[in-house]
């Protein structure tokens, strides 16, 4: 899922400036699951804004990345000075697109697509590079799990399973790839030189779009 964290309150208040009537808009999917932008966080943030003397309306949509879920809040949006979106960056942009005459501000920092590692812990797992090579690497992604995104093996900074960038908290992705391939008997995959990546399939190419004629009405 998409993992996000809350922005510092000062930054949020800075965006809001003189806006008095604020629509505090949560999202019920990824950011609700990671306790950053769901119904509860909306209630807390709205309460803080009221304490500061503003009028805050609370709404939480099922998803902010789909236009169809915004219909129930059109009136509140029309009547407010600013919308504070607690969605990921995708939701904030959808909001801005749907309400072109309203200021829309983000309340979260969108962090990454990641795995829930247990209570209150998440880790990055996918960069959405558009050219998945997990089949070559035992199901561990070197583009995401290696600090240098190396695809031909670890650099010299891998020590006892940890990455030199932070030997206390970051596991070496390449140690994990090696261990996995060893367990499934596929170390042979590591003998082949991996060709330079085609970065045109990532954001380096352009902002990406997908169109599926089979699904288009």
């Amino acid at each position: 899922m998409i993992v996000a964290s809350q922005k510092p309150m000062d930054e949020v208040l800075g965006y809001l400036g003189g806006a008095q009537r604020v629509l505090v808009l949560g999202c019920g999917t990824c950011v609700a699951v990671c306790n950053a932008g769901g119904e509860r966080e909306v209630a807390t943030l709205a309460a803080l804004l009221r304490l500061g003397g503003r009028q805050a309306t609370e709404e939480t949509l099922e998803r902010q990345c789909d236009a169809e879920f915004f219909d129930p809040v059109r009136d509140q949006a029309a009547g407010c000075d600013a919308i504070l979106s607690l969605a990921c960056g995708v939701g904030v942009q959808m909001c801005a697109r749907l309400f072109p005459d309203k200021p829309v501000y983000p309340a979260l920092n969108t962090q990454f697509m990641g795995i829930n590692e247990g209570a209150g812990a998440w880790s990055e797992a996918c960069l959405g590079c558009g050219d998945c090579k997990l089949g070559l690497f035992g199901g561990v992604c070197p583009v995401t799990q290696c600090s240098k995104s190396l695809c031909n093996g670890p650099c010299g900074g891998s020590t006892e399973g940890m990455c030199e960038v932070d030997t206390k908290t970051i596991e070496c992705g390449w140690q994990r790839i090696y261990d996995r391939l060893q367990r499934i008997g596929r170390l042979d995959l590591l003998e082949t030189n991996v060709a330079p990546r085609d970065w045109s399939k990532t954001h380096d190419g352009r902002p990406r779009k997908i169109t599926r004629p089979d699904l288009a009405g």
């Binding site: 600090s147 240098k148 995104s149 190396l150 695809c151 031909n152 093996g153 670890p154 650099c155 010299g156 900074g157 891998s158 020590t159 006892e160 399973g161 030199e164 960038v165 030997t167 070496c172 390449w174 140690q175 090696y178 261990d179 590591l190 003998e191 030189n193 991996v194 060709a195 330079p196 990546r197 970065w199």
Partner: protein, 321 residues
């Protein structure tokens, strides 16, 4: 004149191909435009080594570029090895710089991944890693041997122009002390398959572990396909030895060496003595074709170390016709 078909005809290549025990040294360019620093360090190394490595924003700290520093050495009459990392440039900039380095008279390039930017003085920088070191090695080899860019286009100014490719002697680094240990020889094989002519290793203190790695390398026959220069960094003090032992990822300093440095009255002298002993031992190890001396901000001691190790004067191998 020799009629050996050299790949790049650099002095380093000629010395290694002739079977001499090669010696390279490292020169860290200054963190300012003070070119005199390069001049001074170069004079310590003049005539004492077969080629001089210029680091490329080493430890992710901005310095005079390796190619510009290499040109300074060319003008001074020393042979440079430019280091090129994958951290700061994409494939366009790397190939452009390889062409540029060649026309400036540079004939050796060591291809590296590059230290992560968090260690340097611009930790908020964006890194590149468009290619990795293995892909860069293959890129340089194809430019040299096939006369084509990475994209496959011939290296010519127009369709009617001749192909004029940079003929570079290609090096790579390897850290025998990184993990997973079993993967290190495989990774070296990948570099050799990509086209590495020589290897300069991370600095070695733990000779037992290095010997274990070399035996894996020899078991794969890699020592016959690539010239392996064992990396050495002389210790200047017990403080430095302790830092190397604990503060640098991927470097291991055996207890015995730490003990010797701690007990020594003259730490610098003991460090040099250890370095000379290491060179003697390395010369006995199968597959070691030379040493790469990284005397960090201590280039002035390189002549003494080499003299005491019996590696001076350096051999002279005439260039190809």
């Amino acid at each position: 004149m020799s009629d050996i078909p050299y790949r790049a005809n650099s002095n380093l290549e000629r010395v290694l191909v002739a079977g001499h025990f090669g010696v390279t040294a490292e020169l860290g360019p200054p963190k300012s435009a003070e070119v005199e620093v390069i001049h001074k360090k170069a004079e310590h190394l003049r005539g004492k080594v077969d080629a001089v490595n210029l680091t490329d924003n080493q430890t992710a700290i901005v310095r005079i570029s390796s190619i510009a520093a290499g040109k300074v050495l060319v003008d001074l009459g020393l042979e440079p090895v430019i280091q090129m990392t994958c951290r700061d440039r994409n494939r366009l900039a790397q190939q452009a710089d390889l062409l540029g380095a060649y026309v400036l008279g540079i004939r050796n390039v060591t291809c590296l991944t590059g230290d992560h930017q968090v260690f340097g003085n611009h930790p908020t920088a964006r890194h590149v890693f468009d290619l990795d070191s293995i892909q860069l090695i293959e890129c340089v080899r194809r430019m040299r041997d096939d006369g084509v860019f990475l994209c496959g286009d011939p290296i010519q100014n127009s369709k009617k122009s001749p192909v004029v490719a940079p003929k570079l002697y290609i090096g790579a680094a390897e850290n025998p002390f990184g993990d997973p240990f079993e993967f290190r020889a495989i990774r070296l094989a990948k570099k050799v398959n990509a086209g590495a002519d020589y290897i300069q290793t991370q600095c070695i203190y733990d000779l037992e572990r290095f010997e274990r790695w070399m035996s894996q390398v020899c078991a794969r026959g890699l020592h016959k396909r690539v010239k392996i220069l064992a990396g050495l960094t002389p210790l200047r003090s017990f403080k430095m030895a302790s830092y190397m032992a604990t503060g640098v990822a991927g470097i291991q300093v055996p207890r015995e060496l730490l003990g010797r440095m701690e007990a020594a009255k003259d730490g610098a002298e003991e460090g040099i003595r250890i370095c000379v002993e290491q060179i003697q031992r390395l010369r006995q190890i199968e597959g070691v074709a030379g040493i790469h001396l990284m005397a960090i901000e201590w280039e002035q001691k390189v002549p003494e170390i080499l003299e005491r190790a019996g590696l001076l004067p350096r051999p002279v191998v005439p260039p190809a016709a």
